[in-house]
């Protein structure tokens, strides 16, 4: 057998690449016309585009002039005299403006004032933070309801379970999401002054992580710990949801609870401090 010339081998390979690409495009059209199928579409696109790519690259690297070609590179772009003239033109113009010093200052003041005025449209972008970060929708006597709006009976909560609740009528209030936990009697140690916040050993903490705001969705009953799945902060429920591991720096705020005459869980009031991640004026309630 006679040895094939590399150039004709390349020509063959390139030809085949384009034929493959052509066929894949036809197949793609058929698949599309029949209703489409993602995996076949992906495979056919790969062959159609890949054939074009392989063919072109082979063509360029085997059958086109390779050089190496050498081109001159200039180290500076302009002649020195030209540069000097440009500089001079700038300086002359600047001097002409600079002579009217008073007008120049007025221009500066007007531009600055307009710059300030430009801030107003930016101000329109959002509401004023005001007190909104310091308050949730919990009020004295508000019933705790599930995300479907069903009120929660204290007697129906099983020990060592958690339940996500909202203030009644505010199931869309993201900042008010709260975890109800029925703790095993005697395991919860309320902070001084909060002894009457956990009737029938039911405690409530803000569900929003104090680190970066994710819902603290995981509860391990055996160790009485809440875990945040985003950045792995751990909160120890028994001591008032204090952070024990991970990046969180402050306990989950506790919601004061009581039980109303009908046996439903209600709030004694709002959270005593802002919920969720901290911010600059965190300690300065307006």
């Amino acid at each position: 057998m006679a040895e094939r010339k590399p150039r004709s081998m390349a020509t063959r390979a390139i030809g085949w690449a384009f034929i493959l690409s052509f066929s894949a495009s036809v197949a793609l059209t058929v698949v599309y016309a029949l209703g489409g199928q993602p995996q076949i579409e992906g495979a056919m696109l790969f062959v159609a585009l890949g054939g074009l790519g392989a063919g072109l690259v082979l063509w360029a690297s085997r059958l086109m002039p390779q050089g190496p070609h050498v081109e001159e590179r200039r180290l500076t772009f302009e002649e020195p005299e030209e540069l000097e003239e440009t500089e001079d033109a700038f300086v002359v113009g600047a001097e002409q403006i600079g002579r009217r010093r008073f007008l120049g200052r007025l221009l500066g003041a007007a531009a600055a004032a307009f710059g300030v005025a430009l801030i107003f449209p930016i101000r329109s972008l959002g509401t004023r933070p005001g007190r909104s970060l310091f308050e949730t929708s919990w009020r004295t006597g508000t019933r705790a309801v599930t995300e479907d709006g069903a009120p929660v009976k204290a007697a129906e909560l099983a020990v060592d379970t958690i339940l996500t609740v909202f203030p009644e009528g505010h199931t869309d209030a993201a900042d008010s999401q709260t975890l109800l936990i029925k703790t095993e009697p005697g395991t919860f140690h309320p902070r001084p002054g909060r002894e009457d916040w956990s009737p029938e050993d039911i405690v409530a903490f803000s569900k929003i992580c104090t680190h970066a705001g994710c819902p603290v969705g995981l509860f391990q009953a055996s160790s009485n710990q809440l875990f945040c799945p985003c950045h792995q902060s751990v909160f120890f429920v028994s001591d008032g949801a204090v952070p024990t591991k991970g990046p969180a720096t402050r306990p989950l705020p506790q919601l004061p609870l009581s039980i109303d005459a009908d046996g439903y869980v209600v709030a004694q009031g709002d959270f005593p401090e802002p919920v969720g991640p901290e911010f600059w004026n965190f300690g300065r309630r307006p």
Binding site: G42, A43, F46, L52, T127, F279, N281
Partner: protein
Amino acid sequence: MIKRTVEWVDERVGGSHFLHKTLNKVFPDHWSFLFGEIALYAFVVLVATGIFLAYFFNPSLAHTVYNGVYRPLKGVTVSAAYSSAVDLSFSVRAGLVMRQTHHWAALVFIGAIVVHLCRIFFTGAFRKPREINWWIGLTLLVLALFNGFTGYSMLDDLLSGTGLRIAYSIALSIPLVGTWIAFLVFGGEFPSDRIISRLFTTHVLIVPVLIATLIGVHLAFVWRQKHTQFPGPGRTERNVEGTMFWPTYAAKSIGLFFGVSAVLTALGGLAQINPIWLYGPFRPENVTIPAQPDWYLGWTEGALRIFPAWEFRFHGFVIPNPFFPGVLLPGIMFTILYAWPFIDARITGDHSAHHLLERPRDRPGRTALGVAALTFFVVLFLAGSNDLIAKWFLVPVDTITWVFRIGAMVAPFVTGFITFRLMDGYARSGADRFTKVPLAYFLHRSLTNTPHA
């Protein structure tokens, strides 16, 4: 035919002189010069698929009951944004391939930019006269990162909602102005009903236009200054050696475009990505487990996870914990990167213009620093999956966190030191291949072998 077109244009706007120079323009060839091109072509794919997707996506938070073909979600109240994203995946012909190709292209786009950045850094291509293009490139990276995030955040699925929640908290953590910034960007307290439509406008109009413009300027600079080249026989500061633009280089480059598109569409058709129907719609009280961002934000995620529980409080004011890993760290990183051409010139004392590249071994110190920085980011990236690593190795997540805390501080020094010794020995040996360097050169710093001039 070609001749007549050229004449037609020349008679009206001229420019055949420029065109002639362009056709004969010489481009140096090296595999490492292709990453910028790959990024460019990934961007082309992003624009093409993105236009298609924009015709189907509805950036609205209006409540709607899902009634599409995906059975598990039937009857669930979701946002119009989420519903339209699921519908364009399942009910629009070729929609899923388009959406997945778009997502894969975004991952590859940023990956190619990062590798391109590394190539520029390790070969000293940022030196005078290319500082401006270094800044444009960095700005493109920032814009690409930002647009990646806005893109996957606007679908209103559970994973993206979690990411937005964290972004809001990071904005909130900025001293003095954080609350205002968070409220102005989001339109109010999280989750505001304005954010999705804002993300959409930003993602499909504002940032892409900026990116396209800056790519144009970036390439114009390369055109004007001509590409750098590695030193070699016959190559000097005053010439460019390579293949001519027409036809060889153009054909190769268009071939590369098809190659990149082929890989991206294959991934888009065959490799599932961001299956929002599995994550479910966003509800503020729900969260996906595990929750990892797209790869290019993994380092910030890791930094948030392993930064110790520190914060500053004084007179009722707080600098919250997320500020340090979420704002300060990226801020320092990008400040150093933007200032790098000046820092490098100060360290090396070399303030002159260069068109010949340096090889990584020519500057062992710079190479070591770059490898140390990359190591730091790899550790942070891995730390972003500390929960998964804990699960795979059956080790408490807190242990993993501590490993990464120490690793982020120690590993960069180790890899930096090793890199320095390897590059330094390589350079002293005068070998033309790394594998040919006698071991002794790495061990004894006194050995030198001056290569023949």
